[in-house]
């Protein structure tokens, strides 16, 4: 019951924000501009190339290993639990989010933006959604790998359930970590500082559970913290277990982080 209410409230907030974002079409204009600045800068293409390379490598490695004989894991599990995957995972977020607000603040263009008839929420969501769109585009080529494999294979190594779970969790953690990046970028004028902050918090979130393993803390506490660890969520989803608790967890934290970012951007409006 409580779970359903949370889900409904969350959905309500998201719909309300999207309506505000779309009002008058200004949000879409900003979104277009943000997407354009992703693809007109070399960063997007370099990141895209590197992520494709890493995905290709992990996919090839997984295939090579499965060819050796019977294995207890699926192709998707192999691909998305490889070192290459986690490597890509960690460098993507700082790189795509660091310039979002830091650059505007450094150039001073944030002033021209916010003195035009634009609301802070439109600016925030335009930047966030542009980053999420770019992130989705980053992972599409890897989906192609699986589709090609499926076409040429009689086996069911890359089952639909497992694939759906994998891409759902990739999207969820992506939304969450991009929200961290947005906040980090809004806090500073310096892109490098933004990138480092984002990287640190993404890493910490990934390591939750690991950190406590060798510390003498009560078991109950360790278990609770472990529930928040990205790595455990990713493993469950890759096996095809689409867990609504995690969907709510990542979505609600994304909303929370974005609302903090909103208040950081509104800070100049505070009457101090």
């Amino acid at each position: 019951m409580a779970f359903t209410i949370t889900a409904c409230v969350l959905l309500g907030i998201i719909i309300l924000c999207l309506l505000k974002f779309l009002a008058g079409g200004t949000g879409l204009v900003l979104l277009g501009k943000e997407l354009r600045s992703f693809f007109f800068s070399p960063i997007a293409w370099v990141v895209l190339a590197l992520v494709m390379l890493l995905n290709g490598l992990s996919f090839t490695a997984a295939l090579a290993d499965l060819r050796e004989g019977e294995r207890s894991v699926t192709l998707t599990a192999y691909t998305f639990n490889s070192i290459q995957f986690w490597l890509a995972y960690f460098f993507i977020f700082p790189v795509i989010t660091m310039r979002l607000f830091a650059e505007e603040q450094k150039l001073g263009t944030i002033e021209t933006l916010l003195t035009a008839p634009v609301t802070t929420i439109q600016l925030l969501l335009a930047k966030y959604l542009a980053a999420v769109c770019f992130y989705i585009i980053l992972w599409l080529p890897s989906l192609l790998n699986f589709m090609l494999f499926q076409m040429n294979s009689t086996d069911d190594h890359a089952s639909i359930g497992s694939l759906a779970g994998s891409y759902t969790i990739i999207l969820l953690v992506g939304m969450f970590n991009i929200a961290i990046g947005c906040l980090a970028s809004a806090l500073t004028k310096n892109q490098l500082v933004a990138a480092m902050t984002c990287f640190t918090f993404c890493l910490l979130h990934f390591l939750l559970g690991f950190i406590l393993q060798n510390l003498s803390v009560p078991d109950a506490f360790r278990e609770t913290v472990t529930h928040f660890s990205t790595q455990i969520h990713v493993r469950a989803f890759i096996d095809g277990l689409i867990d609504t608790r995690q969907i709510i967890y990542y979505t609600s934290f994304s909303v929370l982080l974005l609302s903090i970012t909103y208040h950081v951007l509104e800070f100049r409006k505070w009457k101090v």
Binding site: V29, L30, L114, T115, P117, T119, K269, K271, V272
Partner: protein, 313 residues
């Protein structure tokens, strides 16, 4: 057009703008003058809705800038100091983005962009990357952005900052031209600019309004207006004392001597002319006079007088 009453902005530890009130009527070109750090940019940022005031109110075309900020912002064309732009966009592309952002669509946007490009002389640069433009052209792109949606009010923060004399002249001409159809508030610390373009001047210093009037009236009411330079063939001390005795002369300064000729600068009370008295004095004493020249007061004198006095509070 602009109605500001009792506007105060406090930052931690200092008051940037201190209870200022002023109005700007439709169609006026008003110069916002003051030394660096006087609170000009802060006031402008409040007027454009970028930051809120600590207290007081500001109305733009009948809309409160805080309660109806979007409606007020729609009526303002704002060019910030140093003209922040995206270097990786082309001029036309940038102007198109700004036009869409300001709610223009389709044909309206297209016409707005074409007009702004034309008016600011950007036709040749329309396809250039903003990053490759010279400072003068960047300034023009900023100006084109400010007037693209044909706003009733233009707020320009130091529009000629960092330009060469030719560019300054061009921007000034453009502002005059725009003044025919817009209300304009220009902030600057370049005095000749204000004297040439503005109908009215507001002088701001340490967050307070020191004067608000037409440039002419300001100069008229100046206490130490203008000065007279004379070159006279007489003993310096005797001549100086004699000139000092002329009524309304406030100060006589000896500038230089060249053989028997001495050069003086004479300051008299505002609105008076003591040249005749000096000539009479020279005649009476049989001093040869080879130069007498009156330098009128300029806005610069007003500015210096108003902003160099020690703070009253």
């Amino acid at each position: 057009m602009i109605k500001v009453s009792n506007l105060t902005k406090r930052f931690v530890g200092r008051t940037a703008v201190d209870a200022i009130s002023f109005n700007v009527e439709p169609g006026e070109i008003v110069g916002f003058l003051g030394p660096n750090g006087a609170g000009k940019t802060t006031t402008i940022r409040i007027l454009t809705g970028y930051m809120p005031a600590t207290s007081g109110s500001a109305m733009i075309a009948g809309h409160d800038i805080f309660k109806e900020s979007l409606k007020a912002q729609q009526r303002i064309g704002y060019m910030p100091e140093n003209v922040p732009l995206y270097d990786d966009m082309r001029v036309k592309e940038y102007l198109r983005f700004r036009a869409l952002l300001k709610g223009m669509r389709g044909r309206e946007a297209k016409n707005g962009i074409a007009e702004a490009i034309d008016l600011c002389g950007l036709s040749e640069m329309r396809s250039k990357m903003i990053g490759t433009l010279s400072k003068g052209y960047r300034q023009r792109v900023g100006l084109a952005d400010a007037l693209i949606h044909n706003p009733e009010l233009l707020i320009l923060d130091e529009p000629t900052n960092g330009l060469d004399p030719n560019q300054i002249r061009r921007v000034r001409k453009l502002i005059k031209q725009l003044g025919l159809s817009h209300t304009i508030l220009i902030s600057t610390h370049i005095l000749s600019e204000v004297e040439m373009t503005c109908d009215r001047v507001i002088i701001l210093d340490r967050g307070k309004i020191r004067a608000a009037d037409t440039p002419k009236n300001l100069i008229k009411h100046l206490r130490t207006a203008g000065h007279i330079s004379i070159e006279i063939n007489a003993a310096a001390d005797i001549a100086a004392n004699a000139i000092k005795k002329i009524p309304r002369v406030k100060k006589v300064i000896k500038e230089s001597t060249e053989q028997e000729w001495t050069r003086f600068t004479v300051r008299a009370e505002s609105g008076t002319d003591v040249r005749e008295d000096i000539v009479k004095l020279a005649n009476e004493n049989n001093w040869a006079l080879r130069e007498i020249h009156s330098h009128g007061a300029s806005l610069e004198d007003v500015f210096v007088e108003l902003t160099q006095s020690p703070p009253t509070d």
